[in-house]
């Protein structure tokens, strides 16, 4: 008893320790339905699983579902759409609180946060688990490639944007915007690293390769060079030309032969596709939403593309022989064998009226509807269209054809035309696919190039950047170009008995009242961002020399 009593303090200590251990064990609950990050990076494959998030539409959707085309195609005067906030891009009347503008900004910064997370946390955790340096470096290169591209979109829409490299460390800081020049430098650093560390060909088609980064870098240099007042402009043109030529000559990649299927599922990750947002049918946010957003009701399920179409001005761009036209937009009499397959295909009519005279489908003001990226119903493409705005056709971020054109534009440089042999060659490859002859006078002018680009890339969300580069070169020219489009003109029914034929409609020119001014060439920082971080309204600072 005495022994027991004399040792009681030990019993208490040991007893308490056991109790505390049991208690700590009881109170530690590891997640059961997901992997703790510290346990995640164990093999090379885990890094690949992590970086695959960078390509997924699920990650890009806030940017790509609406903003990408509203800004990319409505601002550029290619896409007609007048409804409410969505139509504000068409009217150039967007305000800082436009919900889609906010979405686009958020979507791009979200992709950057994913890339940052990989860049900042993956290497140490992976190294600790013995993952190979090669896999780590490649993961870093993929992340920096995507980050560079996201910043490029940001700076082309918003000019001066904040560079965020570490979302956690910067959380409690007061943030300012950074000058566009420093953003360009940052992008060049990211893409250069990516170019030097990515493989020529990834085992998984669709992932970034050396050529994706290099092609994009060429386009970035071209954009930088277009600021003709930059003393290094010529150097940047040279860089753009050199890199684009390298892709053209050494990548072994080629154009997809048939423009008509270039935007269908079968063309996913084809050799022309340098980089694309990967789309799958797996619910809302996972797939291509263009099909649903753009298709006319009779061409797809749950579609709301009735009120959208190519502007009259875009329609005027196409040569009647241009084979691309039918696959960019639908016009009276066009036949699409792969849409409504069960009924033997779809023939486009501007309006549809049944025997009783009921108007089943009304003509829109453009007497045309969008086709690019529109692939019909689930039955038309073997289940490749879901019902939650998710179609399985990828959305291009960079096509080889774009790199060709970048090469041509870099050859033109600050001048007006080029006769560079390779430029003429690649230019003719694009035209020949469109069923058009090569350039006749063996000299491609700047205006010809912009025209060709507009026809080739209409509705891919990138034509506004051509106008932006034109604006950097020459503000007056770019504004005159935009205002010369008379983009509000449309067809209005003038004879109620002739609703199904074009003759029943009159082109109303008096509505052309959209006047673009220089300040509208830069999008406003979203109002919710300024409200949350008022310092974003301050003048931008140089990221490298603060």
């Amino acid at each position: 008893m005495k022994v027991l009593m004399s040792n009681i303090k030990y019993y208490i200590v040991i007893g308490s320790a056991l109790l505390m251990t049991a208690c700590t064990k009881f109170l530690t609950v590891e997640p059961e339905d997901s992997i703790a990050m510290g346990e995640f990076y164990k093999t090379d494959a885990n890094i690949r699983q992590n970086t695959s998030s960078l390509y997924s539409m699920k990650s890009w959707s806030s940017f790509a579902h609406q903003f990408m085309w509203m800004a990319g195609d409505e601002l550029s005067g290619d896409l007609y759409y007048t409804y409410d906030q969505e139509g504000q891009f068409y009217y150039m009347s967007f305000g800082a609180n436009n919900a889609f503008l906010t979405q686009g900004w958020q979507g791009l910064y979200r992709i950057i946060s994913f890339a940052n997370n990989i860049i900042n946390t993956m290497p140490a955790l992976a190294r600790a688990n013995g993952v190979s340096e090669e896999a780590i470096t490649r993961g870093l290169a993929e992340a920096r490639c995507i980050r560079g591209i996201a910043y490029w979109f940001l700076t082309e829409y918003w000019d001066d944007v904040t560079i965020v490299e570490d979302n956690v460390a910067m959380q409690s800081e007061i943030l300012y915007r950074n000058t566009q020049a420093s953003v360009y430098r940052f992008i060049v650093e990211d893409l250069t690293f990516a170019m030097n560390n990515l493989p020529d060909e990834d085992t998984q088609a669709g992932r970034a390769s050396r050529w994706s980064a290099e092609g994009m870098l060429a386009k970035v240099y071209l954009t930088m060079a277009s600021h003709l007042d930059d003393p290094q402009s010529d150097t940047w043109f040279g860089k753009a030309k050199e890199l684009a030529a390298d892709v053209i000559n050494n990548s072994g990649l080629s154009l997809w032969a048939d423009y008509s299927t270039l935007f269908d599922i079968e063309a996913n990750n084809n050799p022309e596709s340098l980089l694309a947002i990967q789309c799958i049918v797996a619910g809302y946010g996972y797939g291509n939403a263009h099909n649903c957003n753009w298709s006319r009701t009779s061409c797809a399920d749950q579609a709301w593309g009735d009120g959208k179409g190519p502007t009259v001005n875009l329609q005027k761009q196409y040569d009647p022989a241009d084979k691309r036209r039918q696959w960019v937009y639908m016009s009276e009499g066009d036949y699409y064998p792969k849409i409504n397959k069960a009924d033997g295909g779809y023939t486009y009519h501007i309006a549809v009226i049944d025997e009783q005279g009921n108007e089943l489908e009304t003509a829109n003001e453009m007497l045309s509807h969008c086709k690019k990226y529109c692939i019909g119903r689930a039955a038309d493409c073997d289940g490749g269209v879901g019902d939650a705005q998710d179609a399985g056709n990828n959305i291009y971020l960079l096509r080889l054809a774009d790199v060709y054109m970048v090469y041509v534009e870099a050859c033109i440089g600050s001048g007006d035309a080029t006769s560079d042999a390779l430029a003429l060659d690649v230019y003719s490859r694009i035209r020949s696919r469109a069923g058009l002859p090569a350039d006749e006078d063996a000299s491609i002018t700047y205006d010809e190039l912009i025209h060709e680009r507009r026809c080739e890339f209409a509705f891919e969300g990138i034509n506004f950047f051509d106008i932006k580069r034109m604006f950097y070169r020459n503000q007056t020219k770019a504004l005159a170009y935009l205002n010369g489009m008379n983009r509000e003109q449309g067809y209005y029914n003038s004879d109620a008995t002739k609703k199904t034929v074009r003759e029943g409609y009159t082109l109303d020119l008096s509505r052309a009242l959209i006047i673009v001014n220089a300040s509208q060439m830069t999008l406003p920082v979203p109002g919710s961002e300024l409200t949350a971080m008022p310092s974003l309204a301050e003048p931008p600072v140089d990221y490298y020399n603060q």
């Binding site: 208690c23 992997i35 409410d84 504000q88 009217y91 919900a99 910064y109 946060s113 006047i515």
Partner: protein, 1044 residues
């Protein structure tokens, strides 16, 4: 005649045994076996004419009833205090307490008071009954969730619902989730359903609300939002009783919104077309005079709906064993077609004294609920669709098929009647709750109680979206959705209770520990393209679309102690301390300590107060305490990966940035109260002043999107402990018995709650947190939680009338820049006559985001509940009034019904009063801006029609705010208790019949369906936003209570 002739007058005086020498005021004196009687006056005197040999029964609340033979003409007697009645017990945490000994702030409703109105869910019983408790129904849908705020909201991102303790089993007040509707496209609707829906209200015998920290602290972390202790019926020794409780009710839709009929709509459409703002005119609108009223879609989606409820219970027992068993069934159709709620419940409680030193018992309950939930609150909601549906479309065509638009281009609108019936969520919940205890009585004053409780839940949510054809609108993909969820919670409590009275000292102490574990898991699964719409089972048929799954758990360990000391029933002190640990925090921040102390002084028991005969009770209370909160997701102190499908197989990314320093949110509360009773409690007044300050709020800070976000798609910003929120207020509760005569009694209960909520601090930069309505709307910063303001204030622009003419536009601050710093004047792409002028608050000449400000507050100035019961002989009439004064509603419904941007949406008749143009030169063809002015109706606030709305007339502004004040006659009930002597003849114990009207009338200036909006999905920052809320019905019920 004989009796009358022998009647004589008796004079008597009744004295108060509790206050010697004082007369007894208001005691009832009855002649036994008759309904003759009277009450004593202020001097305790009475005069009564009685037959010879009569026996008088003298009674008063709180005193022992006496019987005396009226054999003298002068009587003098003394009523003794009935300590058993005075020892009215109130349930507090881990035990009960004499009400008079309470030091904290506790509101109770028990017994008959619970039956004063007909409710489908127990939480509605609290409405207007307990001061400081604000109850709003978030939806009028059967089984919908309720928002309950005990002394205001303090948590910003978590919900603010109280903790419920049902017979010892804790249950969170936050609603259960359903899968919503967005999986099939469109807006999601409210996804929270009522957690209390699985409890039958008829089983409940008392509800005690612990309001202040000193009362709640014993629940530690879970008690931060107040605690509601629900006690169900237990058996009593004696005769076995069988009781039946049942009612049938008819529910009606109370108010309609004034929408255009077909004629008005055609006139409107034609006008738009002729003005050139619309480019399309349906042929049928050419001649409006040929058109009738068309379809009234509101009438089409609502109905008079039936509800009925039945409950049978069996109670009784011996001195050693008591039991109560009950079973019930309730079925309620919603007033909007397609919605329904059904509940089956059963409960058994048993208590047994095994030996003097050992008692054991338990309760077990089972409930199954089945709900049909329609899409509500949101743009795709049934009501929202019904009000905007075009009136030219029939509900069904002549062949009996569902109708729809005849033109594919109509951006509208599926048939809401068809959708409500074809497309709804079915939710089936099964809940088993149990509680078992054993109590060892070591001595008379020391016992140990060990309690094990569990709560097992299964919910199964099924949705089916069929293929359909509504006119030309065709859906040829059907979809099936299933969500299953299982949870199991257990808690094991052990506590020692000590209670002893030594002379004038009463000492109590409690020491205990508990541990709990909550585990949950679930899956969702979606398939498409089933062969037909008939077999709605998640089987082999159809194509797989997506699924998800989750599984998680959390644990807590707590130790707690409480000490009470009572000196001579005059001085009381209660002190508690509780240590809580939660698995939600990292190893170094797991434990939190939460102390409280409360003092009370029963002044009325002081010798010098005995002389003040009018005052029967006077008690002062003072309390202070801290309560914690851990209402967050699990494992936020470390990082985990999120998996999702991609082209390259499963993708992983980080889900949330971790914060290893995450710790308990703590709220610090003060309470000063006074209980005041006069004239033998004929008047009882309780007033409490409180302050509740919550700090280290657990929240995800609001960061600009450049840093991150908090959505599912984001790598969420880390949860942090920041900010401070204060609630101050006054709870007033006044119980009176203005008339107490033999045949007629009037009891009234007035409850007034005043709460002032204020955010004192946010993060280091005091960044506000904004709340949005649907991501695709412009209302992204419509509500705000910002320093210096109450939570959830409305944030937006201030309107200042309409542009009257060209000069007016030119001279106004720039709303749409033409590129030269002036207003762009253009019908489609700029500002135009008849657009709304917004105030340039910062005076910089341009309307920008900086011109937004706080434009309204959803929080009421005060709320009031006023209950009156009039009893005349066997009749009882009850009238309940509820009022909420002050506060505003954001009527988002009007953005759709008065927004005037889509020609496909039906509009409110108010749109007929929209601005009309006059033409200076008299030529309506000349639409040049210089020729325009606003015609006659300059007083209108409704702008011009415009599809593009470049001026953003529809932006978030005070245009959409309305006064939320209302006075509601919530309930009128009339019941008749059959006289006992009749009942005896047919061997009934009691029989009561009643008729009841709920939601009788509402007085309000609000233009929507119902000014009682609540919180969207119980979120603190989204109060009083009306996005097509399912309004509460008016209910006529007829019921019977029968006991054998």
């Amino acid at each position: 005649m004989l009796a009358m002739s022998q009647a004589r007058e008796v004079h008597g005086r009744v004295m108060d045994g509790a206050q010697s020498g004082e007369p007894m005021i208001g005691a009832t004196v009855m002649v036994k076996g008759t309904n003759q009687g009277t009450v004593t006056d202020f001097d305790g005197n009475f005069v009564l004419s009685v037959p010879k040999e009569a026996v008088l029964v003298i009674s008063s609340v709180g005193y022992k009833t006496q019987e005396v033979r009226a054999n003298k003409t002068e009587l003098s007697l003394t009523l003794e205090e009935d300590t058993q009645v005075l020892d009215e017990f109130v349930v507090v945490g881990y035990g009960s307490m004499r009400k008079v000994d309470l030091t904290g702030s506790v509101g109770s409703i028990a017994g008959e008071k619970l039956k004063e109105s007909i409710v489908t869910n127990a939480d509605q019983m609290l409405q207007g009954r307990v001061a400081g408790v604000q109850v709003t129904q978030n939806t009028g849908a059967p089984g919908g969730a309720t928002s309950i705020r005990v002394r205001g909201a303090s948590s910003i991102t978590g919900d603010n619902e109280p903790l419920y303790i049902i017979d010892g089993v804790p249950m969170s007040g936050s609603g259960a989730d359903i899968g919503g509707f967005d999986w099939a496209g469109g807006s999601n609707g409210q996804t929270k359903v009522n957690p209390l829906a699985t409890i039958s209200p008829q089983d409940i015998v008392s509800m005690d609300v612990l309001k202040d920290a000193s009362a709640c602290a014993i629940y530690g972390s879970a008690g931060a939002n107040g605690v509601v202790i629900i006690t169900t019926r237990r058996g009593e020794a004696g005769k076995i009783h069988v009781a039946y409780d049942g009612y049938v009710g008819l529910q009606t839709f109370v108010r309609k919104l004034p929408m255009m009929d077909l004629h008005d709509y055609a006139v409107y459409q034609k006008d738009l077309y002729s003005q050139g703002v619309s480019t399309y005119l349906n042929n049928i609108y050419q001649d409006p005079d040929l058109l009738g009223r068309g379809t009234d879609w509101q009438d089409a989606v609502v109905r008079n709906a039936l509800m009925h409820s039945h409950q049978i219970s069996l109670t009784g027992g011996t001195q050693k064993t008591q039991f109560a068993i009950s079973g019930g069934y309730m079925n309620q159709d919603g007033t909007v077609v397609g919605s329904n709620f059904e509940r089956f419940s059963a409960r058994a409680n048993v208590d047994h004294e095994f030996a003097k030193w050992f008692k054991l018992g338990g309760s077990l309950s089972y409930a199954r609920t089945h709900e049909k939930i329609i899409n509500n609150d949101g743009e795709s909601g049934i009501l929202m669709s019904a009000i905007t549906m075009q009136p030219d479309i029939q509900v069904k065509d002549k062949d009996g098929n569902w109708s729809g638009p005849s033109n594919l281009s109509a951006s509208a609108n599926y048939n809401p009647v068809a959708m409500a019936q074809l497309f709804n969520n079915r939710l089936q919940r099964d809940r088993i709750m149990g509680n078992f205890y054993g109590q060892f009585n070591f001595t008379k004053w020391l016992n140990l109680r060990s309690e094990y409780s569990f709560d097992s839940n299964t919910s199964l949510n099924k949705g089916f979206m069929p293929t359909y054809q509504f006119g030309v609108r065709i859906n040829n993909i059907n979809k099936i959705y299933q969500r299953e969820e299982h949870s199991f919670y257990w808690i094991w409590k052990n506590y020692l209770n000590y209670n002893q009275t030594i002379g004038k000292h009463t000492i109590g102490a409690m020491l205990g520990m508990e541990m709990s574990r909550s585990a949950w898991e679930g899956t969702t699964l979606q398939k498409n393209n089933l062969t037909g719409n008939e077999i709605q089972v998640m089987g082999e048929d159809g194509t797989f679309v997506t699924n998800s799954g989750w599984k998680d758990a959390s644990t807590t360990v707590s130790v707690f102690a409480r000490a009470n000391y009572n000196y001579d029933n005059r001085y009381l002190i209660t002190a508690t301390i509780r240590g809580d640990a939660s698995s939600k925090f990292g190893p170094s921040h797991r434990w939190g300590a939460f102390p409280s102390v409360a003092l009370a002084w029963r002044m009325s028991n002081e010798a010098w107060m005995k002389d003040v005969k009018e005052i029967s009770n006077l008690k002062l209370r003072l309390g202070y305490g801290q309560v914690g909160n851990s209402n967050i997701d699990t494992y936020l102190y470390a990082a985990k990966m999120r998996a999702y499908a991609s082209t390259f197989g499963t993708s992983y990314r980080m889900a949330t940035n971790a914060n290893p320093d995450l710790k308990w949110e703590a709220s610090e509360q003060w309470n000063i109260g006074v209980d005041f009773g006069m004239f033998n409690s004929r008047i009882d007044l309780s007033v409490d002043l409180y302050q509740k300050q919550t700090k280290d709020l657990l929240l995800q800070p609001s960061v600009p999107a450049i840093i991150g976000g908090n959505g599912w798609d984001d790598i969420a910003t880390p949860m942090t402990n920041i900010g401070r929120v204060r609630n101050r207020g006054i709870d007033i509760s006044l119980n009176t018995a203005p008339v107490q005569t033999k045949d007629f009694q009037w009891n009234s209960n007035l409850v007034i709650s005043v709460n002032r909520n204020k955010v004192l601090a946010m993060d280091a930069n005091d960044t506000p947190i904004y709340g949005n309505i649907d991501w695709y709307s412009e209302f992204q910063t419509a509500t705000a939680i910002m320093v210096g303001q109450p939570m959830g204030v409305f944030y937006g622009f201030v309107t200042d009338g309409l542009f009257e003419n060209k000069e007016d536009i030119e001279n106004w601050a720039v709303q749409v820049d033409d590129g030269t710093g002036h207003n762009k004047i253009d019908k489609n792409t700029g500002v135009w006559v008849g657009d709304i002028r917004f105030k340039d608050l910062d005076g910089d000449g341009v309307i920008t985001d900086k011109d937004q400000t706080v434009i309204g507050d959803p929080n009421p100035d005060f709320t009031l509940g006023f209950t009156n019961n009039f009893t005349y002989k066997n009749w009882t009439l009850g009238i309940v009034l509820n009022a909420s004064v002050g506060g505003q509603i954001l009527n988002y419904t009007r953005v759709k019904t008065e927004g005037m941007t889509s020609i496909w949406d039906n509009q409110s008749t108010r749109v007929n009063d929209r601005v009309q143009f006059g033409y200076y030169d008299g030529d309506p063809e000349n639409t040049d801006v210089t020729n325009l002015y606003i015609l006659n109706n300059i007083s209108t606030t409704l702008p011009r029609w415009n599809t593009t709305d470049v001026n953003r007339n529809n932006r978030m502004s005070d245009r959409w705010l309305e006064d939320a004040s209302f006075l509601r006659i919530s309930n009128i009930s009339l019941s008749y208790n059959f006289p006992e002597r009749w009942m005896k003849k047919i061997h009934f114990s009691s029989l009561k019949l009643y008729a009841n009207i709920q939601n009788v009338w509402i007085f309000t200036a609000y233009s929507g369906y119902d000014p009682e909006i609540g919180a969207y999905n119980q979120q603190a920052g989204k109060l009083n936003i009306d996005a097509g809320r399912y309004p509460s019905p008016r209910v006529y019920t007829f019921g019977v209570n029968l006991t054998l």
